[in-house]
Assembly symmetry: C2
């Protein structure tokens, strides 16, 4: 969080007092995108005025449908457009007349089509908006989600707010990022699926999120820079005040070709982007899963250092965990004699257990034994991070027993462990396992712990966060440059 | 499958006519490992003679407990030992007298402890076995799973058999590999969790699996070579007749230290192992998830080539998919005009859809539209592989609708698509999503299709299989050497 609380210039984007949705079918027609936006806003509990608009009039969800923006009696802060692209200039002209502050074009069919006339159409809409003092998001984006003000663009997004800002040039990725993050306990301050970025662009939103006191972490998916001149400095400023995790789309030729037809973006060179992101001190990730994984660990963990203690049940898990950690610049220090001695009081030299690091603690333990083990390891000052792996793919009854014992111990110790612990629920996606894993995940997430379903994913994300913190502490990170 | 059907020399390991379990507590005592093995064998439907043994006698599960091996009336092919390590030499002496063919020591507490006396104890047991003509697996391993003969070491493993042989120095990894593989439709021929490999070792089993007509693919987790002289040639021979997917444990210093205390293995140099695996033509993987992913694709896909068509719903997914493919040596060829023309009859130039590659097919489609799209793409001769991504993280109702439409189309076309198609169910692990994803997974797996829950995992596994096939076809694979 920045120390200076300001009212950032784009705050109006996320806090409109009234919304008109243009292109809402009435209840006699099949559902359409406009009605979908209306349903979602009502579900999200938006408390300002909502005005459905359609030139045919009618009623929907108990609301009058106005025939035009002009007909709307009050002021309109925000217009969501779900009408066909060719009618966009006309709508923007009406928005100027109505003194609308922001128009979001869900509407696609602009520059992403790649032909001159579509590009001209987009430019024309922007031109009308700029001359008339109206700002615009999209086109070809899903829109805005802001639980604080009851804005949403998709059914099922939670009303609870949190510290993660999501900035995404892809609608599906914004949905994935939001759902995956909230499922794992990381809630959202603001999210914007911004599509072609014809007017408001990645730099505008990064600037805003940098200053936004409600935002602690930024997760971004960007295909192309609409403000290439401003982006490096903006990214650097944002990354200097909070973690910015960035997935660049279109780093390959095939990806760039695809980005062009997705959001009309000029993807640019993957190498140049990589250098810019590194120089800015942001964290580049490879896929949307890693985007959420790294954002989650940036949120949950507050420790620094590169020492990891891997606590597992099952030797192979620890061996592979150690290999993965070592390959990514993380260190597994040997457990010192005095810690080993303490562990030995709990785990007498028992076949199948190893008290080195990885610490392989054999089964049959009760909650107290696991809690004591975690306490002893956590009290070791060199244990910067703990990765605790619980294998829930062994026999169903044993998995349930193991989950119960470990989860209870972890939840009880959550206050001590939260800032340094990554929990992995090793699992298989099956009817028999899902209930056990879901219950364990729910308990651990409620306790504020970072939970993963995959050790490789957990370790890769941890390595990214560790490298980021070393870089920002000014420590030697040259040997982590491959991250 | 090899063309010559032989009776391999280790067949007796997997097809014992009678089993004695030594160290079975009777029903008056708390359950123990021995009784667990008994329960599991009964659950697995082992049809040979089972003899529980414990010097205290008694009864368990309706069976008499014999006080010693000698007391057992009939011949004993296979002994499972769940007794403490110090009594192992005595047991082995009794096994020699009883002319037992194989002893599996679940018992831990041997060379993995790292001290001289434990190493001597292990050597002593092997010495007695060798002199007496008894073979041994373990110690410190879970044992054998062979659905064909009703052998198992863990509750819940299925009775259905399949083509995957699992060879694992880790018990937990063997459980993970088996459960993950069968959940995704790849069933098991034989699996062995072989622990310290004091007698029968990785080379013995690789030799056996190479010749085993019931085994089509081998997945192996190996920490150290007990037969370092034989292993390179054995691995090469096995990999020349069927895909061998290998996870090496202990490629790092910390991993090697951990392997030593896990199975008493000398892990050796990771680089040397990497070179050996490459020269043998086996497929090296990085983690247990990839072990199953690559085995699964080796099983499901029979095509070669490096051309991928990525079919998705949502542009970002395709952009990132293309980037991931390109980074791993896979090619996304542009869709040629004649195929595009055919697709255009289904997908008129519609905002939000792209008919290049990635093919981004927008929502709202019915089953026929998806089926026609898949048919047209599959008929393109240059489409070596199809990756079909279904995002089940959008609004719940839309996800359910999308799953229904795509899954039905894929299942209907499974006969044409099975040999080249990878289906990704993009998902979030939550109560709301799990039912939709599980139902989709079940239908697709039943139709014999390869299913993943993660696009990055799917693409990484596909790249490994593609590289392997190019190498084995003698085609240029130098640019795939990073795989």
């Amino acid at each position: 969080m920045p120390s200076v609380i300001s009212t950032p210039p784009l705050d109006f984007v996320f806090h409109p007092a009234s919304i008109a949705i243009v292109g809402v079918a009435d209840e006699s027609a099949a559902t359409n995108s406009g009605r979908n936006f209306l349903n979602v806003l009502l579900e999200a509990g938006y408390s300002g005025q909502i005005y459905p608009v359609n030139r045919n009039g009618g009623r929907v969800r108990g609301l009058k449908i106005f025939r035009s923006l002009e007909e709307v009696p009050g002021a309109v802060d925000f217009v969501i457009s779900a009408i066909p692209a060719p009618t966009a200039p006309q709508l923007m002209t009406e928005c100027v007349a109505k003194r609308v502050k922001l128009v979001h074009f869900f509407t696609a069919g602009f520059s992403e089509l790649g032909d001159d006339s579509s590009r001209r159409l987009e430019a024309e809409v922007v031109e009308i908006a700029r001359r008339g003092g109206v700002r615009m998001t999209g086109p070809n984006g899903m829109g805005i989600y802001c639980p604080e003000s009851g804005l949403s663009f998709m059914s099922g997004f939670p009303k609870e707010k949190g510290p993660l800002a999501v900035l995404s040039q892809s609608g599906a990725f914004s949905a994935y990022t939001i759902r995956e993050a909230v499922t794992r306990g990381l809630f959202i301050s603001k999210a914007i699926s911004y599509g072609n970025a014809a007017d408001l662009n990645e730099a505008d939103f990064l600037d805003y999120f940098a200053d936004d006191p409600a935002t602690g972490i930024v997760a971004a998916y960007i295909e192309g820079a609409r403000a290439p001149g401003r982006l490096p400095a903006t990214l650097k400023r944002a990354a200097s005040v909070k973690p910015v995790v960035l997935l660049k789309g279109g780093t390959s030729l095939a990806g760039a070709r695809s980005a062009a037809s997705h959001t009309g973006s000029l993807a640019g060179s993957g190498a140049v982007w990589g250098a810019m992101i590194r120089q800015a001190g942001a964290i580049q990730v490879e896929d949307p899963e890693q985007l959420v994984d790294v954002a989650l660990l940036s949120h949950c963990l507050s420790r620094s250092g590169r020492n990891v203690v891997f606590i597992g049940f099952g030797g192979g898990v620890g061996v592979n965990g150690a290999d993965l950690c070592s390959g990514l610049g993380l260190t597994l220090p040997e457990v010192p004699t005095e810690i080993k001695k303490k562990l030995r009081t709990i785990w007498p030299l028992e076949a199948g257990s190893s008290l080195r690091n990885p610490v392989d603690v054999f089964g049959g333990a009760n909650k107290k034994v696991i809690a004591d083990t975690l306490n002893i390891v956590a009290a070791w000052p060199e244990a910067d991070f703990l990765v605790v792996h619980i294998p829930l793919y062994i026999a169903p009854a044993s998995s349930a027993q193991l989950a119960g014992v470990y989860v209870q111990a972890l939840v009880d110790l959550a206050d001590q462990l939260r800032d340094r612990t990554v929990v992995v629920l090793g699992s298989v996606f099956s009817e028999a396992s899902n209930r056990i894993v879901l219950d364990a995940q729910t308990s651990l997430v409620s306790a504020g712990l970072a939970v993963f379903s995959s050790a490789p994913r957990a370790i890769k994300a941890l390595a990214k966060v560790v490298a980021y913190r070393l870089q920002h502490k000014g420590l030697a990170s040259s040997d982590l440059s491959h991250l």
